[in-house]
């Protein structure tokens, strides 16, 4: 009986991110993926040979990269202007590290496979915070250098912007690959994490407890998990 009843009861869920955050995240990763694809296509010497995306949009890869770059820059600017509170929260939470985080790092290699992470008190886990700093930093450098590249078109300043743009890409690419692997939930320890940013942003409390225990406790301290329609912070 008890088993049948527990089957009928929906699992406790909690919403990690609101709709505005999820749409912003989707816009960012769609534009960034197009930019990475076209950017690497050109970097690997394929300029002049239309890529799949170039043929799809009907413009050269260089033009596509530039235009999508402007869209991404506009998206980032809008995100900061309209979601300044969330942006500030992201920055503050990402640069705050505690001594207790060391324990989390010590257990992380094994926890990736077992799911038995050390406790942390942050909105983001310590690894996520490092990733946030790298991703936001490199994306910011790419926006600034990208705008610089199209503004000066050539000359000594172009050479400098080009170096910044390239090296930011070299740093961003493996970091983003790591972020995708972790966030996709293919690693046992991060199973279910992808729901935090997709399909309503709702995830099981068991997943939230495993990844962000203190955040979940703060959520549960105010209301029942089922009623948590809005996250603790507007992000």
């Amino acid at each position: 009986m008890a088993t049948e009843r527990s089957r009928r009861v929906p699992p406790e869920i909690v919403r990690r991110n609101n709709a505005r955050t999820r749409w912003f995240h989707a816009g960012v990763y769609l534009t960034v993926l197009v930019l990475l694809f076209t950017g690497w296509w050109l970097t690997l010497g394929e300029e002049g040979e239309p890529s799949v995306l170039s043929e799809l949009f009907g413009i050269p890869d260089t033009e596509l990269h530039t235009n999508i770059g402007w869209v991404f820059a506009g998206l980032a600017a809008l995100g900061v202007v309209l979601g300044w509170r969330a942006a500030w929260t992201l920055v503050v939470d990402s640069v705050r590290f505690r001594r207790s985080d060391l324990g989390w790092f010590a257990r992380w290699p094994a926890a990736v496979f077992t799911g038995r992470f050390g406790r942390h008190e942050g909105h983001f886990d310590p690894g996520q915070r490092i990733m946030n700093v790298i991703l936001v930093g490199t994306l910011l450098a790419l926006i600034v250098s990208g705008v610089g590249l199209v503004t000066v078109s050539g000359g000594p300043e172009f050479v400098l912007y080009n170096k910044i743009h390239r090296w930011s890409t070299y740093l961003l690419t493996p970091a983003l690959a790591g972020h995708i692997i972790v966030a996709s939930g293919v690693l046992p320890g991060y199973h279910g994490a992808w729901r935090a940013m997709h399909l309503g942003g709702r995830l099981r409390t068991t997943v939230a407890r495993r990844l962000w225990p203190a955040w979940l406790e703060r959520q549960q301290g105010t209301s029942e998990p089922e009623a948590l329609a809005e996250p603790e912070r507007k992000r």
Binding site: E47, G48, E49, P50, S54, E55, I59, P60, T62, E63, T66, N67, G69, W70, V71, A73, G74, L75, L78, L82, L149, V150, V152, S153, G154, G155, P156, E157, F158, V159, N162
Partner: protein, 162 residues
């Protein structure tokens, strides 16, 4: 402001940003253009021309193209200008010319699938960021089949049969 209106404003702003980017590209590409190996001047008085092969000449794959530019050509990393070379006005497939000569062969990006016969050969001077620098030109060439062997420079003046 309702949620729907807010989303509309966001989307509108994004479209405006994208449109302004496209508009600036077109504006920068509105420089001079012309035909013939004499080349053409564009914004800032920059000129580019095709020294070899001559307009109307016949060439055999592979062949060398010699470009005369009023500005120094180089790689993107150097911040210098470069030239896009393409055929029949199709600038989606092109060669990147970073010095005054380039060899065009049947395996070149711009010449893949190019049938033997008369074709328009276009060149466009580009800024380091690939935007048009405002100078471009075109000539007619009669392209033969793949000849194999070493590159065969085309004559510097006048057309001839092969």
């Amino acid at each position: 402001m309702t949620k729907r209106v807010r989303i509309s404003v966001l989307l509108g702003a994004l479209v405006l940003v994208g449109a302004s980017a496209c508009g600036s590209d077109e504006a920068s590409g509105s420089g001079g253009s012309g035909s013939g190996s004499g080349g053409s001047g564009g914004s800032g008085g920059m000129t580019v021309s095709i020294a070899e092969p001559a307009d109307g000449s016949s060439v055999q794959m592979p062949f060398q193209v010699k470009v005369n530019s009023s500005v120094e050509l180089g790689t993107t990393e150097s911040g210098k200008h470069h030239v896009h070379l393409y055929f029949d006005g199709d600038d989606s497939k092109y060669e990147v010319v970073e010095s005054d000569t380039v060899e065009v062969s049947s395996s070149s990006k711009s010449a893949q699938g190019l049938s033997p016969g008369k074709h328009e050969m276009n060149i466009s001077l580009r800024n380091a960021d690939h935007s048009p620098a405002g100078a471009e030109t075109k000539i007619m060439v009669d392209i033969g089949g793949t000849g194999g062997g070493a590159p065969q420079p085309a004559p510097t003046s006048g057309g001839y049969g092969y």
